[in-house]
């Protein structure tokens, strides 16, 4: 489904190389965890996958369902089914969450040549998804992410993910800033979206989230490369021993 081959990428503004020959394959239905110490390039990878302009790919390729996506802008990638749940969701003042959802859903449908949703259909979908994530309907009338608590922001991200029905979900440090109750709600939301044709990349610093979203594969990212891959036991090993051992072995 997702194939990253020998990817090299740098910050467009100052040319700092962040990703240095990264290889990764994610299959449909797979939950892949990407772990690594701070500054290893985890968030950068999520931005590059979703097409943020601030980064330049200098070598290698990213293919999604067999097609290179490097030339596509973020909106085009989104309509192909790539969704990024942000570590720090952005505030959009004056735009009600509900309105934002409707515009986003209809834009994606339009890009795929589907009809726009009718208002009752849209309302029904939002109501169902919001209930599942224990989101207060009043929150949906507030401007998107403005004045939301940390937990509300992350739930709003998962709500968007549920409604946009992506085929590749990238969760960037979704556990940061969440207490254990909120974490469980968010994890349940993600688990509910597990399906044989949908892949999930979970980017996280800690093992904690992986107790709730159990990965099929675990990859350690360090200095812009995957230095080790394994199954969920690798995450536990990292939790117990820290990253130092893995880094040393690789070096």
């Amino acid at each position: 489904m997702l194939e990253i081959k020998n990817l090299h990428a740098r910050i467009a503004e100052d040319g700092t190389e962040i990703i240095r020959g990264l290889n990764l394959t994610v299959k449909p239905g797979e939950i892949a965890a990407i772990m690594g110490p701070n500054g290893s390039g985890k968030s950068t990878l999520s931005y590059i996958l979703s097409g943020r302009e601030d980064y330049e790919v200098t070598e290698g390729d990213i293919t999604y369902n067999g097609e290179s996506i490097l030339e596509l802008d973020p909106a085009e990638r989104a309509s192909k089914g790539i969704f990024l749940a942000f570590q720090y969701p952005v505030e959009i003042p004056g735009v009600a969450t509900m309105q934002f959802l409707k515009v986003a859903m209809n834009e994606q449908r339009k890009a795929r040549g589907e009809d726009e949703l009718t208002t009752p259909d849209f309302m029904r979908r939002v109501k169902e998804a919001a209930e599942q994530l224990k989101i207060d309907p009043a929150m949906l009338r507030r401007p998107l992410n403005v004045g939301f608590s940390g937990g509300e922001k992350k739930r709003a991200e998962i709500l968007q993910m549920a409604l946009l029905e992506p085929t590749l979900c990238i969760l960037d440090e979704t556990d940061s800033g969440l207490d254990i109750d909120a974490l469980k709600i968010v994890a349940d939301g993600v688990n509910a979206l597990r399906s044989p044709d949908r892949a999930v990349i979970v980017i996280t610093h800690y093992q904690r989230l992986l107790d709730y979203i159990v990965p099929d594969t675990v990859h350690v990212l360090y200095k812009g490369q995957i230095i080790r891959s394994g199954d969920k036991e690798l995450a536990q090993e990292l939790e117990a021993n820290g990253y130092a051992d893995v880094i040393e072995t690789a070096a």
């Binding site: 601030d54 802008d73 973020p74 942000f86 952005v90 959009i92 003042p93 309105q99 834009e107 968007q160």
Partner: protein, 489 residues
């Protein structure tokens, strides 16, 4: 919100260089000779069949104007205007004032049709047009038609061109004209007093709630012609009116001058709501052409508990110099100013308001949203003045600026003057850029770039859009979208 979609459609459908209202109406015209002199003023006054006292009023203003200097304190730059290189009077031939609809030149009716202004009462009454709005249509220097006059008359409301009002209601004109903006007020207002050619007059008598929205639609058509309109709105005790103003002009390489004066008077418990959607030709993308818009608008809350509210959406003009203000004279009176000023290309805007608190317990509210794109400059200039006797007065000001791109400028210049200890003043100001974060976030959800910007901008101006009457709100959102077309990338 469906309007977002409409904004997008409009943005898509229109090329940056295509100002939608830029067409010219070919019609035979009656003009005064070029230039400004006493003779020209006599010519205008004679054309309007004015009484002598009106001519004297104009000539006094002209003499005063000759001694005045053009103001230079605004943050706008333009070559010196040659006031003798302008036509001060241009009217479609054989039109000296409004006539009945059947008599209006079909070419003019077609013009307003193209502009989307409903002039045909029958169609409105037949439900072809959904909302009922009475319109005064001013074409260059004359009002060509005023609709729904009879129906308004039944309610006691006078709505006619100011030229007619000078002939038909001299007592009201003598009492109120120049009582809010005196002929000595400022360079452009004084010029206007000397040469004003037409505009609207509204009088809502005691206790009457005007049964429909009133509106004036200004169109500058002739080349090298200035438009100097004068509008006077009076609401007697307990009366209410909502008034809309729209403006467009053909696309031309030369700059054209528009110097209007609007005076509002609200007596005890009266309320006037004045909304403007200003869409004069802004000039092309190189900054060539466009309207110079130097306007004096002021409302006088003369009576206790009166209320005047200005709402403006400014998207056009090469230069805008405009400060709709309120004099809060009556105790417990209230002034409001809601503004969206969008500048793109080479446009320069210096706009804001003045709230002059004279009476006790007066309150005012200022919400200003400036959006700058291209290489434009956008300045908010506002004054809040609390006088000595204005016990317990309150003001709330919020000025937000939004920048699109990095070659434009936003400036906020607030003046606050307080002479009474009991006053409460709040001022908030923010400047933000449509951040790459916001744009990326919206695009990551599948919203293409231009739609993402339209969405963010519409969110930014929401507080003000909500103040506009329904039909205008949709129109305003479309306009903002069009004005920002090409601001991306």
């Amino acid at each position: 919100m469906p309007a977002v979609q409409e904004t997008i459609d409009q943005v898509r459908g229109i090329d940056i260089d295509q100002y939608k209202y830029g067409f010219e109406t070919v019609i035979e015209v009656d003009k005064a000779p070029k230039g400004l002199s006493e003779d020209i003023i006599r010519f205008i006054s004679a054309k309007k069949q004015e009484p002598d006292w009106m001519l004297e009023w104009r000539l006094d203003a002209y003499k005063r104007w000759l001694t005045m200097e053009e103001p230079t304190w605004a943050r706008v730059e333009y070559p010196k205007i040659d006031f003798n290189d302008i036509y001060y009077y241009a009217a479609p031939k054989n039109v000296t004032g409004p006539v009945s609809l059947d008599e209006v030149d079909p070419e003019l009716l077609r013009t307003y049709e193209k502009l989307g202004i409903p002039l045909r009462e029958q169609e409105i009454l037949a439900g072809v047009q959904t909302s009922k709005v009475a319109v005064d249509a001013v074409f260059d220097s004359v009002s060509v038609v005023t609709t729904f006059k009879k129906e308004l008359q039944k309610a006691g409301v006078i709505f006619m061109s100011i030229s007619e009002a000078i002939r038909e209601h001299p007592e009201l004109i003598k009492q109120y004209l120049g009582s809010v903006v005196p002929t000595t007020d400022n360079y452009y207002a004084t010029l206007n007093a000397a040469v004003f050619t037409d505009g609207s007059f509204v009088f809502v008598p005691k206790g009457v709630r005007c049964p429909m929205e009133l509106s004036t639609y200004f169109r500058i058509n002739e080349k090298n012609t200035g438009q100097f309109e004068r509008t006077l709105i009076i609401c007697e005790e307990g009366a209410y009116v909502s008034y809309l103003e729209g403006c467009t002009a053909p696309q031309r390489d030369e700059n054209q001058l528009h110097a209007a004066v609007v005076e509002l008077v609200a007596l005890d418990d009266a309320e006037i709501k004045y909304s403007t959607v200003q869409n004069w030709f802004p000039g092309d993308k190189e900054g060539k052409g466009g309207i110079y818009n130097f306007v004096t608008k002021r409302g006088d809350c003369r009576g206790a508990r009166s209320k005047i509210s200005w709402t403006q959406v400014e998207t056009g003009s090469a230069i805008t110099w405009k400060y709709p203000s309120c004099i809060l004279r009556g105790d417990d009176s209230r002034g409001e100013f809601y503004s969206i000023a969008v500048s793109n290309g080479h446009q320069q805007i210096d706009s804001g308001t003045k709230m002059i608190h004279l009476g006790k317990n007066t309150s005012s509210r200022i919400i200003s949203k400036g959006i700058s794109a291209g290489v434009s400059q956008n300045t908010y200039r506002g004054q809040v003045s609390i006088h000595r006797r204005a016990e317990n007065s309150r003001n709330f000001t919020n000025c937000d600026s939004l920048l699109i791109g990095d070659k434009c400028g936003a400036h906020t210049v607030p003046y606050i003057e307080v002479k009474n200890q009991s006053a409460q003043i709040e001022h908030e100001a923010t400047t933000s850029k449509i951040s790459d974060d916001q744009k990326f976030y919206a695009m990551q959800r599948g919203i293409p770039e231009e739609e993402a910007i339209a969405l963010i901008v519409n969110g930014f101006v929401k507080d003000v859009i909500q103040q506009l009457p329904m039909e205008f709100a949709v129109e305003a959102q479309k306009l903002i979208g069009i004005s920002l077309e090409g601001s991306v990338g």
